[in-house]
Amino acid sequence: MRRFLADARLVAAKDLRIEARSRVVLNQVAPFALLVLVLFGFALDADQRTLRAFAPGLFWVAVLLCALLAVQRSVSVEQADGALTGLRLSGISPAALFIGKAAAVFVQLVVLEVLLTAGIIVLYGSEIEQPLLVVATGLLAAVAVACTGTLYGALASGLGVRETLLPILLLPVLAPVLIGATRAFDDALGNAAVDGWAWLGLLAVFAVVATAGGALAHGALVEE
């Protein structure tokens, strides 16, 4: 178990260090996230009342689009120079590798969510009525998206059509996360009278299943 955690931490730290050096997510994905918010504004005629009403949904669609890019980056880091072969040859268990990769994506997603939250407050005029619910939703959804994304990144890795295949594989599976997180935000931002905390239950179930199932399935994948 200690070895497992140490390995996972090693992989996560490695990915985050690479991100700190290359700044791909910070310099490319984060501006893209804000751009998406602005484009929604253009598309919906920049009417702040409309934007505010739809802010939760637009927020989570933007998160999913950014997650696709973050996962692509996470996969390409290992494939650029055959590092994946090295990882398969190392003593790191596939489950620890999975948790490590997912943890790094999780951290990046949380940073993007913070940025996007600031974005909807400034651009759409949203107000946070329940900060605790926002934080809990953001964290649980990030776990769910990071784990599912990492698994599907591994499923599509090594294929010539990875970039185009990943969205069609990943996004339908994440439909419950999109719905759940959006409804929880509806409550937290005071947009609709729904019980946001009940939705957290659904997100929690998804997050737990994605973490455990992903670690398990990743073992079978790397063994191939």
Binding site: V161, L165, I168, V173, A175, P176, F206, L221
Partner: protein, 267 residues
């Protein structure tokens, strides 16, 4: 019968599958007869106003739509079970079955969406009802299995395709209850549960035709699965045959002089 080289007329049909095929066609004809013949259109009287309400003749689409929907789930569950079987046993039989069930299931799923939409237009007065649980679940299911088939098509190595496909299929089927839950809570206004079968005047003949629909489309599903499975099996045999001949070819093509020239040695 000579066993030499397969003649140009061979097919994936066998005596059994031909009997099944004929039975299926006869069944379809009977089903059409009942669906458009003796069964009554759905006409009820409104309890207070006395107006004629109901689905009228559009109900005849349900003898098609409902069996397709149920059997689509049968196909996808079969796919998930076969995928799990593949992950445990790693034999090609399970993989071929999972792939066949997924492909047939996806065709059924697409038809469920189309026929449902065509039925919904006159009955619900809309082609598409956002927030209807089963409709949204089916759409997500369709998209997930489109991805499954795309993944399999994009993967060259058969073993990789089998393994990754099995995982995707299992995730899709396990994800389904969560999709269903989330859509149900999302908008608590599902048209489906109020307006389908329970509300119909279930007459004996209506019920019989519906059951006949299950039986006939069950035969259709079985026939398609059988042939699609055999195609998958043949594809595998073809690939293995190709590999066996490629090995023989490679081994026969080794040329002493070429090898020496390539490694820089004289004889």
């Amino acid at each position: 019968m000579t066993q030499a080289i397969a003649s140009p007329d061979v097919s994936t049909g066998s005596r059994g599958s031909r009997v099944l095929g004929v039975a299926t066609l006869l069944g379809l004809a009977t089903l059409l007869l009942f669906a458009f013949g003796p069964t009554e259109p759905d006409i009820r009287l409104h309890p207070t106003t006395g107006e004629e309400i109901g689905q009228f003749d559009a109900v005849r689409l349900l003898y098609l739509h409902v069996p397709l929907a149920v059997l689509m789930y049968v196909a996808f569950v079969l796919c998930a079970v076969a995928s799990a079987g593949y992950l445990i046993r790693r034999t090609p039989w399970f993989d071929t079955m999972a792939h066949a069930a997924a492909e047939v299931g996806t065709v059924f799923c697409g038809l469920v969406l189309v026929t449902g939409s065509i039925w919904g237009r006159p009955v619900w007065n809309t082609w598409w009802e956002w927030g209807d649980v089963r409709l949204m679940t089916t759409l997500v299911l369709f998209l997930m299995f489109t991805g499954y088939l795309a993944l399999r098509r994009a993967t060259v190595d058969p073993r990789t395709a089998a393994l990754r496909g099995a995982i995707v299929a299992l995730v899709a089927v396990l994800d389904l209850p969560l999709v269903n839950r989330s859509v149900e809570w999302w908008e608590n206004r599902t048209l489906h549960q109020k307006s389908t079968l329970e509300e119909l005047k279930i007459q004996d003949l209506t019920l019989f035709t519906l059951m006949l629909g299950f039986l006939v489309f069950g035969l259709v599903l079985t026939w398609l699965l059988l042939h699609r499975f055999r195609v998958g099996w043949l594809e595998r045999e073809d690939a293995e045959h190709g590999i066996a001949s490629a090995i023989a070819e490679r081994r026969a093509a080794i040329d002493e002089g070429d090898v020496d020239a390539a490694v820089g040695e004289g004889t």
